[in-house]
Amino acid sequence: MNNSPYFLKPASVRFVMLRVLLALTPAIAIYVWFFGAAILVQISLASVTALLAEAGMLKLRGKPVMMFLGDGSALVTAWLIALTFPPIAPWWLTVVGVLMAIVIAKHLYGGLGQNPFNPAMVAFAMMIVAYPSLMSQWPAVGFTDFLPQWNAIFGARQLDAITMATPLDALRTALHTADARATVAGVLGSSASFGNIGGKGWEWVAAGYFLGGIYLLQQRIITWHMPAAFLATLLVISGGFALYDPTRFVGPSFHLFTGGAMLGAFFIVTDPVSGCTTPRGKLIFAAGIGLLTWVIRSFGAYPDGIAFAVLLMNIAAPLIDINTQPPVFGHKRRGGDPQ
């Protein structure tokens, strides 16, 4: 005997998660086109690990395994980890990352819906702090031969031929450590890894994420608040500084179409569990991530700041939520006086 309401709208968590996975596919296709099929290996590896870890943790915690496994949330985490890790990272790096995400960041906090930190970003931050060099070896654009990539993942690591630094990393290293006369224009012109607006190849992957993001918006799975606030903040602040000193600060198009910006905007920042939930809170949360991303990219020691920015704002999310509660019906105007 249940209580009212007695009929419900057809919707489910699984439906939401499957839509998210679907939205990721165009970007993955572009990824494969430019950087080879290694990413598919990583995605499979991460998915299997995530499902096994999820099942194991559910079993340990005495929850119904099949019901929760079917919700698809572990797959979303796994795919995001695979897409943020280098596609030629050794297999154990991905596996350990996924385990960290599922076991520590997700299930120790009570599983789906209860984790205060974004599991995928926890995995990324842990791995980049622990294995900075492994996390910085990315495949060179256009070098799509499968066998060397396969070897890089599972066997002997003959990497020099197939790797290069990511555009963000290359720019940061050049500006920070090279001689003081290095300028943005000089660096961008000097390396093959830079494309027309962002990193070569990466700009197209970013476009794929953007496409997926539009689909999620259209499906009303995410709201406009977070992607808009995140991208706008990144745009304004990087644009402002690029105008102020174009030799030292790279422009907004580079920031938006390089690294994890687009993936972050639509798939990571928008994670409802660990983020803010009030309309104003969402704007502050995403803008904060945008700002911190730019700060860490421009001044920090790590190549891409999104993971840390997301985690830092995850920490602040409860406080932001508490302080941005929207007014309740009838409590908006002082004392609720009639006109």
């Binding site: 005495g62 929850k63 119904p64 019901m67």
Partner: protein, 183 residues
């Protein structure tokens, strides 16, 4: 060496003087904490905690002389509230002080009552009315269910009765979590 001693002594004198002044200047009167503790206690005045009432128990807690887990009528929830207020660790209800029971009220079997007034004297909240050699009765709405009237009754005519659920006192239950059904 002498300098060192002098320096330390000088420091001690100055700091001591400052502290002494502050102790006088910021003296605290009364203890507002007792009120806060007392507000959490259920006011059954049953004495199961080992103190002659809720207030004395509150005072003992405030002084740190009593544990927070000695109040069976307050139950688990009362202990949690006390732990929160005082920043102490939660402890399960101490068994020697009793167990948490559903709330009940005393009922006097009026046919058996001999009018001895012993229960009236025992009742901490004056919830029993009657006079010597007259029948006594419990004002159910005022009864805290402390059971203190049971022992003194020479004819054992007082018993505790659980409070029956009515449409007015009925509460919505915790939703049945579907997970357990599936699992």
């Amino acid at each position: 060496m002498i300098e060192a001693l002098l320096v330390m002594a000088l420091g001690a004198v100055i700091l001591g003087a400052a502290l002494g002044y502050a102790a006088v200047r910021f003296r605290v009167e009364g203890d507002p904490l007792v009120e806060k503790i007392d507000a959490i206690l259920p006011q059954t005045q049953c004495g199961q905690c080992g103190f002659p009432g809720c207030k004395p128990y509150a005072q003992a807690i405030a002084k740190g002389e009593a544990e927070i887990n000695q109040c069976p009528p307050g139950g688990d929830e009362g202990i949690h509230k006390l732990a929160d207020l005082l920043g102490r660790e939660y402890k399960p209800l101490s068994a020697e002080h009793g167990i948490e029971k559903p709330k009940s009220v005393a009922v006097i079997d009026e046919a058996a009552c001999i009018g001895c007034t012993l229960c009236i004297q025992a009742c901490p909240v004056d919830a029993i009315v009657g006079a010597a050699k007259q029948m006594h009765t419990v004002i159910a709405t005022q009864c805290t269910g402390c059971e203190l009237c049971i022992a003194p009754c020479p004819v054992d005519c007082i018993r505790m009765e659980g409070i029956a659920e009515t449409v007015d006192s009925w509460k919505w239950k915790y939703p049945v979590v579907a997970l357990r059904r599936v699992a």
